[in-house]
Structure formats: structure tokens, C-alpha cells
């Protein structure tokens, strides 16, 4: 047993006031004193403040996240690891997760976004999986807001700067502009890795006496209190001063770390491994020990430092990037060190696993922290915060300041031209062109597709990936909006021909201490749960980002959903483009469209916006039907009707990079109301198929509505009844030129 830790010279007095300055409540501070049976040291207070922050402990959401379906036939590995995994066939498992880096990216966009990518990649390769793909969901404020262009440039630059240099392709993503994010942008980064099933790693310490290795970059002062003070509090006028809490990324070191870790795993000498993410050395060491029901002892003097004179407090709380902690098999640490030395990375034994259940840190011969390891995470507070629907439910109000509908309604052709060039519909090419989307040689369909498609080498199999969100719908109804988001992501994966197999989610909301925000969060989780259960797809990982508000104004509720689907034979994947003149064009849908939460409504207004309930049985039928069509080669293209509605989806289907085509359709006789042309409320897919397959398509999708609406034409015009007759090439230039005209042209 060691002596109780003592205060170091120059440290402040520890009391409830100091605890509050660390973001801890009076009750939380009392719990810490109870757990320790004494006053914590300054170092211990820092440790608890980070580990019990919203960001690390999920204290407001944990209770509700339990309702999500996390099990499934294809799920591999137990809960509590860094990321979930699913079996994708032939001995391969896919590990994937999405995580927010919202506040750092608003304060310092380039490094915030870059380290968001770096952090999520480490979550993947710490599991023993090679990261093979990234995606990003980005929400910016309105293009008119003075900060938006700066933030877009920084965030896109940071994602590209890190992703391109680390050698993981960015294969898909989404970008949205909405005034609701003016003061709090969202940067949600997704990564997916592949591993052989037997190579999956654990983050559970085993074996008393096993050495603990620190590998990767040296520790500096960057990112201290990133998790607690930056990520777990709302923004105010002082937020700019928090820039030093943002970490600085080094993608080159991350690339070396990926190669070295995967090579080290092959030695079989690793017992447990975890990245030093939020709360750095503290979280990785205490969580690995805690999961194994063991203790851990750290010698902080041995930690490689970037500058002299870091205090124990700083060493333990630094969020310097590109670092991992490894529990090695005793006697084999030299084998591991050799691998890291080959890659010119630090590999230092800084401690060992003990059997006393204590998380203990020594510095200059003194114990500076001595805490029950499991308590740091297991005894973190769990709150059942009050939740209450707002008095006037939004779901009968009017979104986006829109007034009455038909007052100044444009002609269908004028509306189409306006919508296709609106920032939320137009081509994202100028953004994704800045990302390497092909490195590693697996990208079958990259950015700009309904879903990205990857092949798995040495196998016929493949994966489809899609990330989606629908804050406008969530604004009207946080439950239906969340259901719609899952449906859309799954449908996009199915449009590519893949069967949805796993979900990861990032739940972005405002301050959970406000009952109406808590209500939004719970309704969002319920929507995610119900859709996942209906589709029989497990939610294998996720992240919650709260306190997304500035000066008391919260962002729209934004559950970001990524769905990963699998192909038995990736050669059978589909794209959204029409291929052959003369093919029949069919519309398959689960319900009638509406203008609620649509781009049309945002631009021109629409009255009485109310979301219709979603019939998940019919949604599932649509997804199953699409997968069947791909597997039986019944259709030649499939495109989801999303932002902009049917008319935009038809135009996009004509933009075949191999040469534009045209389409001539009739919908519902002469009634070409805005709902039909631009409505988005329902789940609708446009497919093209040889005419002789029309009958069998009706059977495949029954009882859904399947309507043969027209034909693909060689003449490159988009003709919809008498309402629209436009040149496809002209629409395409509007679509391609809109964003470069509004943002800094790369």
C-alpha cells in the first residue's frame, strides 16, 4: 500500500468552488469526497472533472441509450469496447463509429475538424481493424452569415489535410447550410475499418504485473480540458478564449501509428489497447483497468514529453493526439517496442497492471493520485433529467419563417431551377474534390453517389456506406424526424443494392438541462430505436454531443445516422444514373409526398407543415425490394428522392458522367402540384429498368405503390408532363456551379 497522495507545491486549495471551476456540481464534488474518503488532490479533481464530464460520461443520455437495440446475429464483440463490429462475411468484420467534433471545429475549424478525423480513426484501429473509409456530416450556418465561409474553408481543409495525408479515403458525406447552426456548427466524423475476425482487439486489461506501454507522439499541453470545458458546455462570448483547448493534429504520425499498431497486433503480444482520446492518459488507463476489474500504476516521469516542466495534472489531462496505451504480455514488451522503433515512434513502459483495483499515478517519487479505478467511470453520475414537450408543438407551426403557400408560388420550371441551385441541393463536388476518395483501391462508388460502395479485396463481397440527417424534419417532430433519417440512410444503402447491416449514430442536441431539449433527445433516441428494430439492424456504436447552443439558442435537433450495408456480390451494385434510352422509369413509394420540411418550403414557403407518421413496415418493404432488384438484376439504376423532391431526383438521374441522358414522364395526369414535383415527405425511389421487367417489379414491391411514369430518352431533356421541359445540360451547370459561386472556388 502506498501513502495517500499529497498536494504539490503551488497547487490551489481544493474545495467546492475549485470543483465548480472544473465544471463539477456541488453534488458531484460530494460524491468524489465520498468515494475517496478525503479531499481530492488537484490532480484527482482534474481527473474526475474530465471523466465525469458530459462528453466522457454520457451522464444525461446514458439512461436513454439503453433502449437501443445493440444486439444482432451479425454483431461481433461485447459492448464497452471502443467501437462496435459486425460480421460481413468470409471471415471479415467491419468496425465503425461516428463521433462529433463540433465545438473544437467552431473555435478552430482546421484543427478541430482534422483532429475529429484523427480521433475517430484511432477508435477504429485500436480494435485491430485497418481504417478503409471515412465520411463526414457537416452542418454550417447560413451562407449569408459572416463566419460561414471561413468555417467551411477551415473544416473542409482540415478534413482533407488530415484524411488525405493519413491515407484513408473520404468516400461520402453531407453538407448542409442552415441559420440554425450559425453559432454552433456540427462536424460529425465517421470511420470504418476491416479486420479478420480473429484479430479483433480488446480494451480490457488482464494479467497482474503486465507492463503498460505508452506509444506514439509525445505529450504536450494541447487539448487540456477539451472534453470537459469545451465539449461539455454551451458557447458564449468567451468561447473564443477556449482555442487553446483544441488539439493539433499530425496525420503523418497517425499514419505511422496505424501501421505500427497493426503490425504490433500481429505479434500476439498485446493484451489490451486503447487510444488516448478525450481525457488522454487518464481515460485510457482507468478504463482498461476498470473493465478488467484490475488496478493500474503509472510512473508519470516516464511519459515522453514535448516540453519540460509539465505537471502531473497536465500529463494526465493532455489531449495531445496520436497516442495509444497498450497492456502487453509480461516479457514481450521488447518485441512490441521493436515494432514501434521501426516506425520511429515512442514506445515506453510507463506502468503496470496491479490487482488492487486502484488507479494510481506517481511523479517524482510521490503518489499524486490514488483512486478506485472502476469508480472513475462506473460511479460517474447518471442523470434522469426532466423532459417536457414544448408548450406549442412545432409540428403544426410554420418552418423557416415561411408564409402562406401559393401567394408567390413560382412556375414549376422556375422552382426547379431555383431548387437545383440552392446550397442544400446543388452538387457538393467542390467540397469532395478536395478529398482523396480512392486511396487503398477499394472505392467502387465514391462521393456524389446515393451511397458509397467499397469492395472487399480477395472476396466478392462489398460494403455500402451512407450518412444522413434531417434537422428540418426533426425540428417539426423530433421522433418522426429521427425515424425518417434512419429510413433515408438505409434506403440509400439499398439503392446501391446493399442490405443494411449496422447503424452508428451521433446525437447532436442542445443543453440537456433544459427539459424541452431533453425531450427532443429522448424522442430522437426512440425514433432511432423503432426504426432500427423494424429494419432488424443493430445500433453498434454511437456518440452523444450535447450543449450545442450559443447564448441560449440551441441547434435544431440533429441525430446523424450512418448505415453500413453489405453485398454478397459487389459487382451487382447500382448507381443513380439512367443508363439506357428506352428503359422504363418507375416511381416506387411508401406514401404520398408533402412539402413539410422540404427545400421548396424553405425557399418559397408552404402552409400547415405537418409530418405524416411513417409506416415502418412499408419502409422495410421498399428496402427489401431494392436489394432483391439488385440481386436479381431487375433494374439498371435506383435513386432516392431526397432534398428537392421528385423533379430534382429525375434531373440528377440524367446527369450520367458517361454522357447525359433525358427522361420523359407523366405523373398523376395533369395534376402537377408542388407536392408532386418537389414534395419530400415520403420515401420515394426512382428506378429505371427494361420495359419487360415492369410487371415483375410490381410483384417485388407489392403492396407499395409502383408507377411506371415514363421512359429514359436519348434526347437530353427533362420533361414532366406539361409542367417542365428543360435542357438537362443546362440544369447540370446550374447544379454544378451553384456552390463554387457561393463559396471560395478551389
Amino acid at each position: 500500500m502506498s501513502a495517500a497522495p499529497v498536494a504539490l507545491a503551488g497547487e490551489p486549495v481544493i474545495d467546492a468552488t475549485q470543483a465548480r471551476a472544473h465544471g463539477l456540481t456541488t453534488d458531484e464534488y460530494a460524491s468524489i469526497e465520498r468515494i475517496l474518503g478525503r479531499t481530492p488532490t488537484f490532480t484527482e479533481l482534474g481527473v474526475f472533472s474530465v471523466m465525469w464530464s458530459e462528453h466522457c460520461s454520457y451522464k444525461s443520455s446514458r439512461k436513454h441509450l439503453r433502449m437501443l437495440p445493440m444486439k444482432g446475429r451479425n454483431v461481433v464483440g461485447g459492448p464497452g469496447e471502443n467501437a462496435g463490429a459486425i460480421d460481413v462475411g468470409d471471415g471479415w468484420v467491419a468496425v465503425f463509429k461516428i463521433e462529433s467534433h463540433n465545438h473544437p471545429s467552431y473555435v478552430e475549424p482546421y484543427q478541430g475538424a482534422a483532429t475529429g478525423v484523427g480521433g475517430i480513426l484511432r477508435d477504429i484501429f485500436t480494435m485491430g481493424a485497418r481504417p478503409i473509409a471515412s465520411m463526414d456530416s457537416l452542418k454550417f450556418g447560413s451562407l449569408e452569415h459572416p463566419r460561414t465561409r471561413y468555417l467551411v474553408g477551415g473544416v473542409v481543409g482540415g478534413i482533407g489535410g488530415y484524411g488525405n495525408c493519413v491515407g484513408v479515403p473520404t468516400v461520402a458525406g453531407e453538407v448542409m447550410f442552415d441559420a440554425g447552426y450559425d453559432g454552433n456548427i456540427l462536424v460529425n466524423a465517421f470511420a470504418l475499418g476491416l479486420a479478420r475476425r480473429e484479430d479483433l482487439q480488446s480494451a480490457r486489461a488482464r494479467g497482474t504485473g503486465n507492463p503498460v506501454l505508452y506509444v506514439g507522439s509525445a505529450t504536450g499541453r494541447d487539448g487540456i480540458h477539451g472534453a470537459s470545458l469545451l465539449a461539455s458546455a454551451e458557447f458564449d462570448a468567451e468561447s473564443e478564449s477556449k482555442r487553446p483547448t483544441v488539439q493539433v493534429g499530425d496525420p503523418f504520425t497517425e499514419k505511422l501509428l496505424i501501421e505500427a499498431c497493426l503490425e504490433a497486433i500481429k505479434t500476439g503480444a498485446i493484451v489490451a489497447i486503447q487510444d488516448m482520446g478525450a481525457a488522454g492518459l487518464t481515460s485510457s488507463s482507468s478504463e482498461m483497468a476498470g473493465r478488467g476489474g484490475l488496478g493500474i500504476e503509472l510512473e508519470l516521469d516516464r511519459v515522453p514529453l514535448r516540453e519540460a516542466n509539465l505537471t502531473p495534472y497536465e500529463i494526465l489531462l493532455s489531449e495531445s493526439q496520436e497516442r495509444m496505451l497498450i497492456v502487453a504480455e509480461r516479457g514481450r514488451e521488447g518485441e512490441l517496442a521493436a515494432v514501434f522503433e521501426k516506425w520511429d515512434l515512442h514506445a515506453v513502459v510507463i506502468g503496470r497492471i496491479t490487482d488492487d483495483g486502484r488507479w494510481r499515478a506517481r511523479w517524482k517519487g510521490q503518489v499524486v493520485a490514488d483512486v478506485p479505478a472502476a469508480a472513475i467511470s462506473d460511479e460517474a453520475p447518471v442523470y434522469d433529467r426532466p423532459a417536457r414537450a414544448p408548450a406549442a408543438s412545432n409540428n403544426d407551426g410554420v418552418a423557416n419563417g415561411a408564409v402562406s403557400a401559393q401567394a408567390n408560388a413560382p412556375s414549376p420550371a422556375a422552382a426547379l431551377r431555383a431548387i437545383i441551385a440552392s446550397p442544400n441541393v446543388a452538387s457538393r463536388r467542390m467540397v469532395f474534390r478536395q478529398y482523396d476518395s480512392i486511396v487503398q483501391g477499394n472505392t467502387v462508388a465514391g462521393p456524389g453517389s446515393d451511397a458509397a460502395v467499397l469492395r472487399i479485396k480477395d472476396s466478392r463481397r462489398g460494403l455500402a456506406l451512407k450518412v444522413d440527417s434531417n434537422p428540418r424534419a426533426c425540428m417539426l417532430d423530433p421522433y418522426i424526424g429521427a425515424v425518417a433519417t434512419v429510413c433515408e440512410a438505409a434506403r440509400n444503402v439499398a439503392c446501391a443494392g446493399a442490405r443494411p447491416a449496422g447503424i452508428t449514430n451521433c446525437l447532436n442536441y442542445g443543453n440537456p438541462e433544459r427539459p424541452e431539449i431533453m425531450w427532443q433527445l429522448i424522442r430522437g433516441i426512440e425514433g432511432l430505436r423503432d426504426a432500427a428494430i423494424a429494419f432488424d439492424v443493430p445500433v453498434i456504436s454511437g456518440n452523444v454531443s450535447l450543449y450545442n447552443e450559443t447564448a441560449g439558442r440551441a441547434i435544431p435537433p440533429t441525430p446523424t445516422i450512418a448505415v453500413v450495408g453489405t453485398f454478397a456480390n459487389v459487382v451487382l451494385h447500382l448507381k443513380q444514373y439512367f443508363k439506357s434510352p428506352g428503359d422504363a422509369v418507375l416511381m416506387v413509394r411508401t406514401a404520398a409526398p408533402s412539402l413539410a420540411a422540404s427545400e421548396y418550403a424553405a425557399l418559397f414557403g408552404a402552409a400547415g407543415q405537418k409530418l405524416a407518421p411513417i409506416d415502418l413496415g412499408r419502409e422495410r418493404k421498399l428496402i427489401d425490394g431494392l436489394v432483391e432488384c439488385a440481386e436479381r438484376r431487375l433494374i439498371r439504376s435506383a435513386h432516392d428522392v431526397s432534398e428537392g423532391g421528385l423533379a430534382v431526383a429525375l434531373a440528377e438521374s440524367c446527369f450520367n458522367p458517361g454522357g447525359v441522358l433525358g427522361v420523359e414522364v407523366e405523373i398523376g395526369g395533369s395534376s402537377h402540384g408542388a407536392e408532386v414535383l418537389f414534395g419530400e415527405g415520403s420515401s420515394t425511389v426512382i428506378v429505371s429498368a427494361p420495359v419487360e421487367n415492369i410487371k415483375v417489379l410490381h410483384q417485388v414491391f407489392a403492396p407499395l405503390e409502383v408507377v411506371a411514369i415514363g421512359l429514359v430518352t436519348r434526347a437530353s431533356r427533362l420533361k414532366i408532363g406539361t409542367a417542365i421541359d428543360e435542357d438537362v445540360a443546362a440544369l447540370r451547370s446550374l447544379y454544378e456551379e451553384a456552390l463554387p459561386g457561393r463559396l471560395d472556388r478551389p
Binding site: 503523418f252 505511422l256 469532395f432 480512392i438 486511396v439 477499394n442 479485396k457
Partner: protein, 229 residues
């Protein structure tokens, strides 16, 4: 034919070059480690794409000093075949094994896209499987691919046929719009004056399978392999 693909710290497309050569083309190819000086008996050395040493200084400026580059320079001086792709091209320029330099793209941003390049010299060991004037569809992905050289060097290179590939449109015509990075004279790939060292910004190793969008890159590797027979 035996190929050696150099792996520098920060190389990214090394595995893709190896896959194209070994798995797609059935060639005898192996990785070479930057700290070694042995080329492992390779008849052609590939310097792959990526960000060697992070390229925090100038692209390729540090890699040229790595131990393996001493052997690569000797190998090239002895007439051995060396191909540098993207970062490999930058390293070859830094090592003065190729003329000119690669500067930041005209747009100042990274560009990932598919471009067309025209084979302007089909008599090199790297292009002999192509027809003169043939247009190849290849991916690019780089931030610093703008080729520059002094005017008198350019004139001499043109005269000798060292300008091997040029950015063009699908019809094979040069234009500002078809030049993705602002390279002088739309230059996409050059050879040294002995035609045994070749550098190009496009990635032939990423255009070797129909499933992934095209096979035009095979022409480059087939040219090299045929020469060895």
C-alpha cells in the same frame, strides 16, 4: 519481371502499386524499406504516392535523403528503370533524377478527380504499349502537382521528347480547362534525358480494374513489363 515498391514513412499508395503489379498483373513485386539500401534485385523501382515524412517541408524534400534513395540514384545512373508516381515524381525532382519541380496547384487546394492525359512520346520504356497520341483516363489526387521548369529546359525537353504525358480533354486537345493544376505546357509526366527515369502526377496504379472505374493505367505498367521480356 521483378519490381520493388519503396515504402517511405508516409507512403500511401505503396500497397495499391503492389496490388496492381502483383495481384492484378501477376508480376513479381515486393516492398522495399526506406531504411534499407538493398533494392532486392528489382529490375524496376516504383516510388509510390503519399506524403513521405508528412511532407511538412517541401514535398519529397526529406525522402530524397533516405538511405534507399542513394541506391535508387545509383540504380538510375546504371540505367535501371525508375517510375515515380505523384509523391514519387516529387521525390525524383527533388533528387534531381528528373528535371523541373512540382509546385502547389493553381487552385491552392488538393484535387481528387479523373483526368485525361495524352501520350506524346510512345517510344519510352514507360509508354511503349500505348499509341502515340493515345488518350488515357487516369485519376489524380494531389495538392502540389503544378509542373514548372525553366524555359530553356522545357524547350530542350520538348525537343528530345521528354514530355511524355500531357493533360488534355477527352478528345485529346490541350486547354486551360483540361489542365487541373496549372502545369506549364499541361505537363503531366516527364522522363529524364536517358529515358530510364519517369515521373507522373496521375495514378496508373488506381486505374487497373474495370470495377473501380477503368484499366488505362495498365498501359504504363505493361510497357515496362514488355520491355523486360
Amino acid at each position: 519481371m521483378r519490381w520493388g515498391v519503396v515504402r517511405f514513412p508516409g507512403s500511401l499508395d505503396d500497397g495499391d502499386a503492389l496490388y496492381a503489379l502483383r495481384d492484378v498483373m501477376g508480376q513479381d513485386a515486393a516492398l522495399l524499406w526506406h531504411k534499407d539500401e538493398s533494392l532486392g534485385g528489382a529490375q524496376c523501382v516504383v516510388l509510390p504516392g503519399g506524403f513521405s515524412y508528412g511532407d511538412y517541408l517541401r514535398c519529397g524534400a526529406i525522402a530524397r535523403f533516405s538511405p534507399i534513395m542513394k541506391s535508387v540514384a545509383r540504380f538510375a545512373a546504371d540505367g535501371g528503370l525508375v517510375i515515380g508516381i505523384c509523391n514519387g515524381f516529387q521525390i525524383l525532382c527533388e533528387a534531381h533524377l528528373l528535371p523541373g519541380a512540382l509546385m502547389r496547384n493553381r487552385s491552392l487546394s488538393f484535387i481528387c478527380d479523373v483526368v485525361h492525359v495524352r501520350v506524346d512520346n510512345a517510344h519510352t520504356p514507360f509508354t511503349r504499349a500505348a499509341r502515340a497520341g493515345e488518350v488515357l483516363r487516369l485519376p489524380i489526387k494531389h495538392g502540389e502537382g503544378c509542373y514548372v521548369a525553366p524555359a530553356e529546359d522545357l524547350a530542350r525537353m520538348e525537343e528530345r521528347g521528354q514530355v511524355v504525358l500531357r493533360y488534355v480533354d477527352a478528345a485529346g486537345v490541350e486547354s486551360e480547362a483540361a489542365n487541373p493544376n496549372g502545369s506549364m505546357r499541361s505537363i503531366a509526366g516527364v522522363a529524364n534525358d536517358r529515358f530510364n527515369v519517369f515521373g507522373l502526377m496521375p495514378h496508373p496504379e488506381h486505374a487497373v480494374e474495370k470495377l473501380l472505374g477503368g484499366e488505362d493505367g495498365l498501359k504504363i505498367f505493361q510497357s515496362i513489363a514488355e520491355g523486360a521480356r
